[in-house]
Symmetry: none
Subunit: 185 residues, 4 copies
DNA sequence: TATGAATGAGCGTTCATTCAT
DNA sequence: CATGAATGAACGCTCATTCAT
């Protein structure tokens, strides 16, 4: 594994477990099995490291969610595909979820980084638009629909983190039902 | 206004605008028009101040949301009452919303403080349970329904903060529709 | 008991038990059952309080040591009288001993305060001078003799504080023997 | 000279000249020609620095006092050797003397550090025991004798610090005479 | 390129002192 | 006179960042 990845992985774990400011760069170096200098050769600052992790996570998320995306399937099928994938991705990668959930809105994440995150929405937006033109989806501003569905998705993962006993498979199906019923017209 | 309130108000504003760690206690003192010592006479540490603000906001939120709550109205009416109030409260108090939204999951907020926040859910949980026994609400674990609806509510406020142009009155109505359609059976 | 004495007694105890800088004036006020303001009405500063205690202790010490001093007894008898009294005084007043032992050389004690302490030496010096002219005492600079005998006296009390098991009456007699044999010609 | 030594030397001087609490760590850094961080890389806290200095001084003292110690010489000769060396060591190293004299009994010096100091006594204790079995030394508890002689030794150095005019060589000889006459039977 | 010892600005916190009551 | 809430300068300590090796 590259030094770069070692550092990002160590930092991801520590930032989530301890918080951003409670994690000194020296600890990131130790856990990442590198020296301080190496980190600063690869990332100009702590803030840059945080942003690099954010962007990488968003990219991985997008890749996972849209891999084998059935472009020509029905709106309903596409909706369930991508929200199902998203939910599963975060359930299996709790560190990644928590990082995004907790730091996305923090001022350390720059506008530029946040824009990368928006890319993910594009196919969703398009799908919802198509659903609206087919009169399958409610006539509500698309971004409002998208936000609503995606934060609904986060809520399940937070619930799971708070209570790991939860019967997951059923919960995921139920959650997709809630989200779809919310937006379908 | 009491010193205590001056300090909490100044801190709330600064913490949201600049972030927790980017706000030195000396700045809180200056904005709160007190000396550092006064803060530390009232709050044992910075962390305690953050938690005190969190708890106060949660209490104010609960008071606002459940004031004149129509206990004997229909489930649908009660649902719209409290989610409508919650949405309006946060739309009118963006600082309060952002503080809760951003710091609730941070490790500085103690479990004890978080429990205060849960109190707020109780009447909502009860309302949903009643709806389920009347077969108006889906047969999905109640906490899942509650989380889903409440984070859906936050999503509108985040949307509004990102894009203040949004036509609010219509959006609130739409949002209540989304949430209700999600959970009704 | 006067406020002044309450404060000095509380401060004496706390300063010895915790150290000077580890004892806030607020704690002195609390233990002395007064307010902060009262302390500052009676003593202009913390330093002044420390010095006032030092001077009072030195005066009490002198009074105790020279009470009923047998002015016309032999040099040997006077020697044993005053060193015996000094030893006993500090053995019975360990707080007082520790305060003087530990803070006398600290820079908080002013030259002026220290001079008060020297008064105590005068009759001792005079006694030693008389002993020298009678050829009973060694021909060594008198201050050297006096210092030697007095610090020897402290050593027994430190020993007692470190090991309270010590058989005291015998130790005091032995100590007087050591000191006398040291200085006698 | 190592950073560690630079820091300890600067701190020794400042602590003696100004007192412990009157010396900020920032001043130690400045005088020691290092940054604050370097101090805290080498010593976990100010207290640890004080203790490290104490232990180092005690070790240096022991080395100086017992170098070329005539193990097989007479008790009298050994007595004069080590008390003579001790006296000279402190007369030549007044900073070192004052540090030990003033802080040894302060609560910042831990029990652990103090124990290091006691090592120094061992050969002295043994020598006195030997003297007692030869009936040269008084039948008084050995620790009492040792304490008496050693604090007697300090008294000369304090006298010298108070009055640097003192004719030293004669005073040292006189002092050894006082101490020996005190303890010999 | 990789390292980690060195740096010092900046923070949270304390506490001697004041002064309105 | 007695009080103690209010003050803010000053301290111990941390940690992001640099740079000589």
């Amino acid at each position: 594994m590259s030094k770069r990845d070692q550092i990002m992985d160590a930092a991801l774990k520590l930032f989530v477990q301890q918080g951003l400011q409670a994690t000194p760069m020296s600890q990131v170096a130790r856990e990442g099995k590198t020296g301080m200098g190496t980190i600063y050769n690869l990332f100009p600052s702590k803030e840059a490291l945080v942003n690099a992790i954010y962007v990488r996570l968003k990219e991985e998320e997008a890749i996972f969610v849209f891999e084998n995306f059935p472009e020509s399937a029905s709106v309903r099928e596409r909706f369930e595909f991508c929200f199902g994938r998203l939910t599963r991705y975060f359930l299996e990668n709790p560190l990644e979820f928590q990082f995004i959930d907790r730091f996305a809105l923090s001022p350390v994440i720059t506008e530029t980084s946040r824009e990368v995150g928006s890319r993910l929405f594009e196919p969703v937006i398009q799908m919802l638009a198509e659903g609206q033109s087919q009169r399958i989806i409610k006539e509500v501003p698309i971004r409002q629909l998208a936000y609503f569905a995606m934060t609904g998705c986060s809520s399940l993962i937070r619930l799971h983190l708070a209570d790991p006993e939860l019967e997951l498979e059923a919960a995921i199906q139920a959650q997709l039902g809630l989200a779809w019923d919310a937006i379908k017209s």
